[in-house]
Symmetry: C2
Subunit: 406 residues, 2 copies
């Protein structure tokens, strides 16, 4: 892709994202739907104007990493930890159920081979942390208790998803699975999550001192973006999803971060505020690129709409996909309206599901029909859930426990 | 380049740019020298840690386009036009002299073939608009009269350079030159420069109205970056350098822009201020990438330091390169201290010279020795001139005409 194409694609992506998001809001839909639709319209599904190359993909990845950084920045670690037990339940039940059910249904009901059934189950385990978090923010519920539980669960799901993907890939290539390897990755990721925020906090502390003696403007944008991307890189090296590196860096810079053993690394409030002010335009610039990119990747033309198998298959898998995620929240000992919204919020598969399905296809495990069926499940869970969440909040708002800080 | 390499390269580039720039300031050097040196150190010349791929190159290009946007944003069109006649003299004399002298010296003194001599002359015509403008800004002289003349001259030089490059390339490939084609490109570029700011101003006006009804935050970063890149794309399509698209967009959004025929498209001051506040972090993020990239591209290992030919050749060409640029300013009817600084400011060849030399090499016209000799000329004019400008201002400041608005 020569430079001048990129300089046309990027404005097309940014401006259509904005236009469709504004339209979405006017039609009572969450703006993220507009951004996804912009991708569907610009991409191979409809107009085919934008064929994203390497550079657009990288900017989209920077977008989701920065979005998670922003989420981390606004997260109260105390409250996230408090939501931890419930988040773990929602995540694990919502991971195991669609995996097991999807696998069994594919194997028994559709009579598919073992490996194919495993990949179908794997695709259904995904939770799109990006879309979930963004919809909650669009509805201004990201700081609610259910928001914290869903955020925690989505983070855990992302980690589980990466491990499962590595296992399935190993199994597909070698026919066996090395449990020692998998546990090593698990331990690395855990270590990352405990150590990364502490390390990032130390870096931020050094930065704050450095800012006082710096004689050139522009320290914050360059150094915070560097910090965030370096942590994304580190997460990737240790086997964790890149976006969790961004989340860890955000958590560490949040005003409500605390270090263990009461170590005092006070952040001066003015510096924290400056970070937010200067990072916001950069976040606003990059994050829509990610959602448009998800829409661009969703090639609806690959679905052979006439095939009856696809419709039956995707209808059954859609049931599995929705039930498998909602059931995790229904288990909780919690106000029922809240359990409902937690369950629904976990449903969008988004980009994480696409990665699974795509890997299954390019490695020759999933044929075009099954891939298309999964694409329908991913598209519906991703594009319909935000509407449903909005409707649900409108309908059951009064039944949710009161949270005065919202 | 897989994503995770990029996520390591970008922090390396940004952090070393910052570190070296801070060091440069402490050693009384302009910060841009630090950023260039960061590229030399990280790149193939020294450590070889970063091998920039497509994505880094595109981000560097966004950097220089946004830098020129920023320059345009702060430019007073009245004052630029007032500097126009002098700028034209400096540009044309400083373009023709090094071209003609370089060509003749190569052909006669070094006995080189016609096409090689033409490319050597072409390489010497370049003026690095990025480095020139940045050094003036580092010294806080960008709004001075000499700053305006140099800016105008560098813009004109860039246009002339692109046309010359196209002609030389045509000549190298086909053996002849189509003057009609060249004039067409010239007319396109002129039309672009007259129409682009007006068009951008209209877009900005629409944007300002749209901002009032928009219900999602983040309009400015996404839409201004889109506007700037779209104009860069348009400039490229019409045959002009991309960065001039950024400059035109910046001019149009500047507070001191005026439309012909007294058309009133008043920009409300709050909106203009908002653009500056929100675009600044984005500029600070991207522009250092460009200067580090120039340093990365300057592979000093390709120079065979032992060859006597290279030293003689580059010493002679350095004289031609410096004299050829300075002479343009010396012609002017102007205070002599000011003539001196204008001449010196035009000397850095930077990335524009590299493009010429690189094209000559990959098309097989320049052999490694001549390429290396030109590389030395480019490196010295780029890396030494900023020091010299700083020293000159320190020494002759009192002899410059007083400009109370600085």
């Amino acid at each position: 892709m020569p430079g001048h194409d990129f300089f046309l694609y990027l404005p097309l992506i940014l401006l259509s994202a904005r236009l469709f998001a504004e339209l979405a809001i006017r039609w009572q839909a969450p703006p993220v739907i507009g951004e996804l639709m912009a991708g569907v319209v610009l991409g191979p599904s409809l107009l085919g104007w934008v064929s994203p190359g390497e550079a657009v993909r990288l900017m989209a990845e920077i977008g989701i990493i920065l979005l998670l950084f922003g989420v981390g920045l606004e997260t109260d670690v105390h409250r996230l930890v408090k939501a931890g037990r419930q988040a773990l339940t929602v995540a694990v039940v919502g991971f195991v159920t669609p995996m097991a059910l999807g696998f069994l249904v594919a194997l028994q009901l559709f009579d598919l081979p073992l490996l194919v059934s495993l990949f179908i189950g794997g695709t259904l385990t995904a939770t799109s942390i990006g879309i979930t978090v963004r919809v909650l923010a669009d509805l201004n519920r990201q700081h609610s208790h259910e928001g914290q539980v869903v955020l925690g669960a989505a983070v855990i799901d992302d980690v589980l998803g990466v491990i499962l993907l590595a296992l399935l890939y190993e199994f597909a290539v070698g026919g066996g699975v090395n449990v020692a390897n998998a546990s090593k990755v698990m331990i690395f990721i855990l270590a990352f999550f405990v150590l990364a925020p502490v390390a990032a906090r130390l870096v931020a502390f050094a930065l704050q001192r450095f800012a006082r003696i710096s004689r050139i403007p522009g320290l914050i944008p360059a150094s915070i973006v560097s910090l965030v991307l370096a942590f994304a890189w580190l997460a990737n090296v240790l086997g964790a999803p890149e976006l969790l590196g961004g989340f860890a860096a955000g958590l560490a810079l949040s005003r409500r971060f605390f270090l263990p053993f009461g170590v005092a690394l006070h952040q001066d409030a003015r510096f924290a505020e400056q970070i937010e002010t200067e990072m916001k335009p950069i976040l606003y610039l990059f994050t829509p690129i990610f959602f448009v990119y998800v829409g661009l990747s969703l090639n609806l033309r690959e679905i052979e709409w006439g095939s009856p198998f696809i419709w039956v298959f995707s209808a059954v898998m859609l049931l599995v996909a929705v039930f498998g995620k909602v059931v995790g929240a229904l288990w909780l000992n919690e106000n029922w309206a809240r359990r409902g919204i937690m369950g629904i919020a976990m449903v969008p598969r988004g980009e994480v599901g696409l990665v699974f399905a795509e890997l299954g296809r390019v490695s020759g495990i999933l044929n075009n029909e099954i891939y298309a069926g999964l694409l329908i499940v991913i598209a519906i869970t991703t594009l319909i859930t935000p509407f449903f969440m909005k409707w649900y909040y409108g309908r059951f708002q009064s039944l949710l426990p009161n949270e005065p800080w919202l």
